[in-house]
């Protein structure tokens, strides 16, 4: 139940963060490394998109409308909700056994052989057998752990490192990353990694049978026997 509720709250927050994050990025689609960066300094790379600010040289003859006001409000509101939801999920998964039973790979799975077997099965698009379909497989477990314990903390850290007030109290947040502009660039890449995970995740849901997986994630029931053939 808690897994499902937190999943859907996270889904809505992710969409909000993605849309608002994109709106914020187009006001300055240039990236730098180090402490400072602006239109009169060299970039690390530029996104080949138009900007919502006339001062940014993009090569496009037009300027997009400024959407940063509500985008920034929404970005931080969604960040608060997803961080609190994520904390609830992580803390409760320690106590309910969700972490141990469903996320941490079992003892025998922790070998290169188990990993390569799972990888080979996955690459041959082998459908899981009925009992296997009831739990997360090794690759799922590893990618969920990566998202929950590596990518999420990283995206929060790099985000906080861009807050001038937060870093005044905790300067190491930004100095460890090599400066404010490095933090911004890293925040962009970690967000891309999360987006990649979500895209693969959604593709996998379609492969497994969209409606039966949706029903399972919404109602908590894995579905009828006929559905099991698809999963």
């Amino acid at each position: 139940m808690l897994v499902r509720v937190t999943h859907w709250i996270t889904t809505f927050c992710f969409i909000a963060l993605l849309v608002s994050g994109f709106e914020i990025v187009i006001s300055h689609p240039r990236f730098y490394w180090g402490e400072t960066g602006n239109v009169s300094t060299p970039t690390l790379f530029k996104l080949p998109i138009p900007s919502s600010r006339s001062l940014v040289p993009t090569g496009y003859g037009y300027v997009l409308p400024d959407q940063n006001g509500w985008s920034r409000y929404l970005h931080f509101q969604a960040a608060w909700v997803v961080v609190l939801t994520g904390l609830l999920y992580v803390i409760s998964s320690f106590f309910t056994g969700h972490l141990r039973q469903n996320l941490l790979p079992g003892g025998t799975d922790l070998s290169w052989r188990a990993f390569s077997t799972a990888m080979a099965k996955h690459l041959r698009f082998k459908r899981p057998s009925a009992p296997e379909a009831w739990s997360y497989n090794l690759l799922q477990r590893l990618s969920y752990l990566l998202v929950i314990f590596v990518l999420f903390p990283l995206v929060i850290w790099t985000g906080l490192a861009m807050s001038p007030a937060f870093v005044s109290a905790f300067p190491a947040t930004v100095t460890l990353l090599g400066g404010r502009q490095s933090a911004r660039t890293l925040h962009f890449f970690v967000s891309l990694a999360l987006l990649l995970f979500v895209l693969v995740h959604v593709v996998m849901v379609f492969v497994a049978g969209f409606w039966s997986r949706m029903r399972a994630m919404i109602t908590g029931r894995a579905g009828t026997d006929t559905d099991m053939e698809h999963t």
Binding site: I24, S27, W80
Partner: protein
């Protein structure tokens, strides 16, 4: 309706009522301790209030990072400004000798300062980063008088809660709470990188609030009003930026 669902309904209802009452108490306590921003209303009020309240608690004494001189951005960056009026150009032609900073509101001694008067106060400098909400940033040496010094000269009354500051440019004003106004790095800036503050960077006088994003550092400051209530300014959200849809608090 079965007994179970009725019992469930009653307990859920009571939990919800208790939750709402708890929120109400929390809101009142937060308001008393100055943890609620003026733009707390609307659909983004929750996130905004959480950000402002947590920053007020976490960053009470903290100082914005200061950088070595070698990290000062070259060339000094100046963002676009809207064209300045003839009146401004007249003042500029006179070397800003007639520029005035008036201070009124909840003060014991309302006053009007010339730039020379401001320069006669203990001068301080800081090498801090100005970061724009758009994403770009630059580092400069900012020279000026701490706002707290000017506030001491006029004698701020104890009920004051905010300092509202107005630009020479029409419809450009902002405000900060007393915590930020009395912060040692909040400056009225008249110099940059060893020289007078260039017009492009807000000369002759600019507010500098280094623990918040660049848009709080309003250019061409002419007027300060100390107040206990932001409702009477603009739409009551605390700044021209907030009236335009941007967050009043820009520590993030």
């Amino acid at each position: 309706m079965s007994n179970i669902s009725r019992r469930k309904l009653i307990t859920t209802g009571m939990a919800a009522a208790a939750g709402l009452a708890g929120l109400g108490v929390a809101a009142r306590v937060a308001k008393q301790h100055g943890l609620v921003p003026p733009d707390y209303g609307g659909i983004y009020g929750l996130g905004e209030t959480l950000t402002y309240a947590s920053h007020r608690l976490l960053t009470k004494q903290s100082l914005a990072q200061e950088f070595p001189r070698s990290l000062i951005s070259k060339p000094p960056f100046a963002n676009e400004i809207t064209p300045l009026s003839d009146e401004f150009k007249r003042l500029q032609a006179g070397g800003f000798a007639d520029w005035r900073l008036t201070v009124d509101g909840l003060v014991a001694r309302p006053a009007s300062f010339s730039l020379d008067q401001l320069r006669s106060y203990p001068s301080r400098s800081q090498i801090t980063q100005l970061a724009c909400e758009e994403g770009w940033s630059y580092i400069a040496e900012w020279i000026g008088v701490p706002l707290s010094h000017v506030l001491d000269v006029v004698g701020v009354l104890p009920q004051a809660r905010y300092v509202v500051y107005f630009s020479f440019q029409p419809d450009w004003w902002d405000s900060i709470d007393i915590a930020d106004a009395s912060h040692p790095q909040t400056f009225l800036v008249y110099g940059m990188n060893g020289d007078a503050l260039p017009i492009g960077n807000g000369g002759p006088l600019r507010m500098r609030v280094p623990r918040q994003l660049g848009y709080k550092s309003v250019k061409f400051i002419t007027h300060l009003t100390i107040t206990d209530n932001l409702k009477k300014f603009g739409k009551g959200l605390g700044s021209a930026s907030a009236d335009g849809g941007y967050a009043w608090y820009a520590g993030i």
